[in-house]
Amino acid sequence: MTYFELFDIEPHMDLDLDALKVKFLALQQQYHPDNNQNDVEQAVEKSSQINQAYETLKHIDSRAAYLLKLAGQDSGLEQSIHDFEFLQSALELREQLDEADNSEQFTALRTEVTQWIDGLIREFHIDYTEQDWSEARDTVRKLRFFRHVLLDIDKAEDKLFDDEQFDAFDDDF
């Protein structure tokens, strides 16, 4: 049974994430070991499968990777990205993130990354439909890359905010 079948949805990039979450909670409830006293072991196994499926389908990059896996085309997704132009933009983005020191800059960076991601999703649609697997893998690598960049933007902003709070605290004494 595929993760899509588990959630009773069509295997597709476009998912209603709210509906996915509702379905996830319902399934968790249904297979909760407390509600399946007659076969706890199987319920635990099913429960962990549901968690894994939800984690995979929830994120755009892992969902795309999973679609490639279902097509038997997911090998080498961990390989380095070699697209020079893409990496030059990524390097610039990283430099800007290093220098960012106010919320507006973080917001601008987030917007830029989100636009990149939107473009990559459109690319993946085309690659996937045309079964251009090598391009599709490249797109998934970039999507995964950007998920981490987004996390790093959040972390950098949190850190800045923490430091500011610490400074304010320091001033009181």
């Binding site: 961990e78 380095s80 990496l87 290093d98 998934v140 995964r144 890359f145 950007f146 981490h148 996390l151």
Partner: protein, 154 residues
């Protein structure tokens, strides 16, 4: 995070780092040394035909690594520079790699294996991908150099 003070090392940015905070807090002294005193940070002129540029990115953590080499007329690498945005291990791996390739020939440099980098820096298994990125970066730089030379001959 190539040029930030060492204090940020432990709050490093690598995506894989966070589930392994304990591991991050116990970087090997060699990694810390390369991170605190990175060798060969900077850039070479990428349009110079004696310069090879490798630029690679890791999907697993969002790290970007730029590694450049300058080769003399005898095929010997006389200079190497890097610029890396990533965690301490990625920076240490690229710093070590630039040191290692200096003085080697292009053919010798091709033989560098990520396992050697990882061993030298005592990288833990979760950080092996950082040394792989460095191997990919030096290979990309060497290949860029060779392509430039071939174009020149033609």
């Amino acid at each position: 995070m190539a040029l930030t003070p060492a204090s940020t090392l432990l709050k490093s940015f690598c995506g894989l780092c966070n589930p392994f905070k304990v591991l991050c807090a116990s970087y090997h002294p060699k990694v810390i040394d390369h991170y605190e005193n990175p060798r060969n940070v900077g850039s070479l002129d990428k349009d110079d035909k004696s310069v090879g540029t490798g630029l690679v990115g890791a999907p697993a953590c969002g790290d970007v690594m730029k590694l450049q080499i300058k080769v003399d007329e005898n095929g010997k690498i006389i200079d190497a520079k890097f610029k890396t945005f990533g965690c301490g291990s990625a920076i240490a791996s690229s710093s070590y790699t630039t040191e290692w390739v200096k003085g080697k020939t292009v053919d010798e440099a091709l033989k560098l294996k990520n396992t050697e980098i990882a061993k030298e820096l005592s990288l833990p298994p979760v950080k092996l991908h950082c040394s792989m990125l460095a191997e990919d970066a030096i290979k990309a730089a060497l290949s860029d150099y060779r392509i430039k030379q071939k174009k020149d001959e033609a």
